[in-house]
Symmetry: C2
Subunit: 407 residues, 2 copies
């Protein structure tokens, strides 16, 4: 059995080459740019006032208070107007162009307008350049403002909008198919018979995919029947990534690995030294990837986060992949069988002195109810049997950590 | 001017009473439950095998190795079959019901089947109860498994699916309208004329709303014209929350606050001791809320995160609201005018000894290009003029911190 790190390494080595597509800039939100984008003009496009106030010549306000003649106003959205002469001031709005001749803006709070509006008293001196944002000072036309590989969040959407980049090239989302296996499974809208349970893995994997901005194409429940399972797997292989839950253990009806081999796929690994999630299978056929996840709800959840997430993130163009890792202080000692790396549900909180980790009581890899109280996964290394209260340990933050934590 | 904390306190005091709705359990993902949900049956519903192996009487395997008669098999999805007699073993699959009479399961790796399949050698002893998950041990029928107020992530979706809770009550999403103001603005698909710029605030606020799972209803750009702006505001007031960008400063054409007062709204505050974002306005009319955000791109962004986000999160049912806060070590000394609390764009990284904060170079509150490199906001308190390299300071993590950080 290979280690978790080795398994992730092999997955990342076996990813298909990136595919890109053009999308509307608003749909680029949550995606990664596959092209570098340049400023289509100077930012700001003109010398711009940073405040509401009066544009003037700083030399005219060297000794204050001083009264200047008000010769007009510069509004946002207007042209620059006529040049400003010595002794003159022009009322100016935030974002409006500074008229030629003016080299500073005094903010309105430090001025007083005469009753007839003809004069403005400047009450405080102002330095040349003060409150003016020079044309091109934030970006010059032609300069790269967003590099290929950049994640597109709200600020990047603003930049794309600002420069009129309405169609942008991003990494394509993979199409993901999802197959649940198990004679014991019925769909959520069915009543389980004796020995049966409702399928909860397909809905939770679909939700995990949604956290990555991906929609699952659910191919339904497949019985523990080789022919039927082969049919579903071949159907799933028409997408970029196929996720199968269940059927990967060592039982007499666990056919997934066998079918993948018979169908000519290269099984990169089957079995990882991890708890839960040991029987995880990873296979490929050309650019198509298959993940076989163990069918216990928590095994499915954890192996998705550890193995499927980094693959999908990389395919989506992210340079970094996988859950965010920090270290924190263990609030309660924990033990495990040290032959495999264990991932234990935990509640992580930020305290004034750092992260504190509270391992949760849970009842093994099918106890999704106990597990659902967690917001992080505590990592118990393969070479340690027990970790004492107060020790510093590694912990992985779940993708919806903000929503699951007390802020 | 009130402090940031006081502003947030007043916002949270003035929220409408919660509204709930029934949705399909899959659409509940990302929402907060407004009802407690109970187990509709025991989990597991029967004594279940945790492994692939042989169900047996532990007493029969007290001395090992021992050969037991194989009398059948228990497959996942089948009934319990006939009771097991002393000296017998039944092949059993993970998740399958343990037959009556058996009190333990030995895993397949610690057994050997005879060539004719009639007998199984048990190679290691097994304790009574070992590898059996007792009926009802994870949840008993009727027990609350998800309390009202719980965030619904993938694990909760699994629990809802498991119990067949296909329609669940969650807090309703508010309908949010968005108005951009400013004579200088043109839409993204238009070419700016002299003194004009493309509107980048509406797209970025829409993206910030999308991070909260909300769709903005964009009412377009309004000129700095009182009648037109009044029309847009009255139209926006037909939604739960109206966000106006721009028009809240002290300039001659900043009409938002005036119009809100004339329209009979209660202006809860206008002006917060914060940089950027000072002129932020918050008003209400009954259950309808209005946020007037300053129009500079970064002011808009920051005041949304600080003031609008907590309101929307609470309306969506979250007990905690606002960006996640941690403390970290400043990698570079910073100064500011101490009269207001400053929020400075920063890059935050997790190092082996804790969080490290790198304040970014930026060129003021319109420099969204510089700002876009950040993944966090460094907080400079009102009462400190300078903070030295190496000091511990507070920092707010942006909602897409995972995507923006090196993992």
């Amino acid at each position: 059995m290979i280690s978790v790190d080795e398994a992730i390494r092999r997955i990342l080595e076996n990813l298909p080459p990136p595919v890109t597509e053009k999308v509307d800039y608003r749909s680029a939100h949550g995606r990664v740019l596959a092209e570098s984008l340049s400023a289509t003009g100077d930012v700001p496009p003109f010398n711009k006032s940073a405040v509401d106030g009066y544009a003037l010549r700083a030399a005219d306000a060297a000794a204050v208070p001083v009264e200047l003649r008000c010769t007009g106003e510069s509004r946002a959205g207007a042209g620059r107007g006529s040049p400003l002469e010595p002794g003159e001031a022009v009322a100016i709005m935030t974002g409006a162009p500074v008229p030629d001749g003016a080299d500073a803006v005094q903010m309105i709070e430090k001025t007083r307008r005469s009753a007839d509006g003809a004069r403005a008293a400047i009450l405080k001196e102002v330095r040349p350049g003060e409150n003016i944002i020079l044309a091109g000072s934030e970006a010059s036309a032609g300069e790269v403002v967003l590099e290929s590989g950049r994640y597109v969040g709200p600020a990047e959407v603003a930049i794309l909008a600002m420069f009129g980049h309405r169609q942008v090239t991003v990494f394509r989302k993979p199409r993901v198919a999802l197959v649940a296996t198990g004679d014991e499974l019925v769909e959520t809208d069915q009543a389980p018979g004796p020995g049966q349970i409702r399928n909860s893995n397909a809905p939770s994997v679909a939700a995990q995919l949604r956290q990555l901005g991906l929609e699952a194409e659910y191919l339904g429940i497949t019985r523990d029947d080789k022919a039927q399972l082969r049919g579903s797997i071949l159907e799933g292989l028409r997408r970029d990534v196929l996720i199968v839950t269940g059927g990967v253990s060592v039982g007499a009806y666990d056919f997934v690995e066998e079918i993948l081999r018979e169908a000519g796929l290269e099984v990169i690994f089957s079995g990882v030294a991890i708890r839960p999630g040991k029987p995880t299978v990873f296979a490929r056929q050309g650019d198509r990837l298959v993940f076989g996840l163990p069918g216990n709800p928590i095994s499915t959840f954890v192996s998705f986060e550890l193995f499927v997430r980094p693959a999908l993130e990389r395919i989506c163009g992210f340079a970094s992949a996988g859950l965010f890792r920090v270290r924190g202080r263990l609030l309660l000692g924990v033990k495990h069988k040290a032959e495999r790396t264990s991932f234990i549900p935990a509640r992580l909180s930020w305290l004034p002195d750092g992260w504190a980790i509270n391992p949760l009581r849970w009842k093994g890899s099918s106890d999704i109810i106990g597990f659902s109280q967690s917001n992080a996964l505590l990592v118990l290394p393969q070479d340690r049997q027990a970790i004492a209260e107060g020790e510093q340990v590694e912990v992985l933050l779940l993708p919806d950590f903000w929503q699951r934590a007390t802020r």
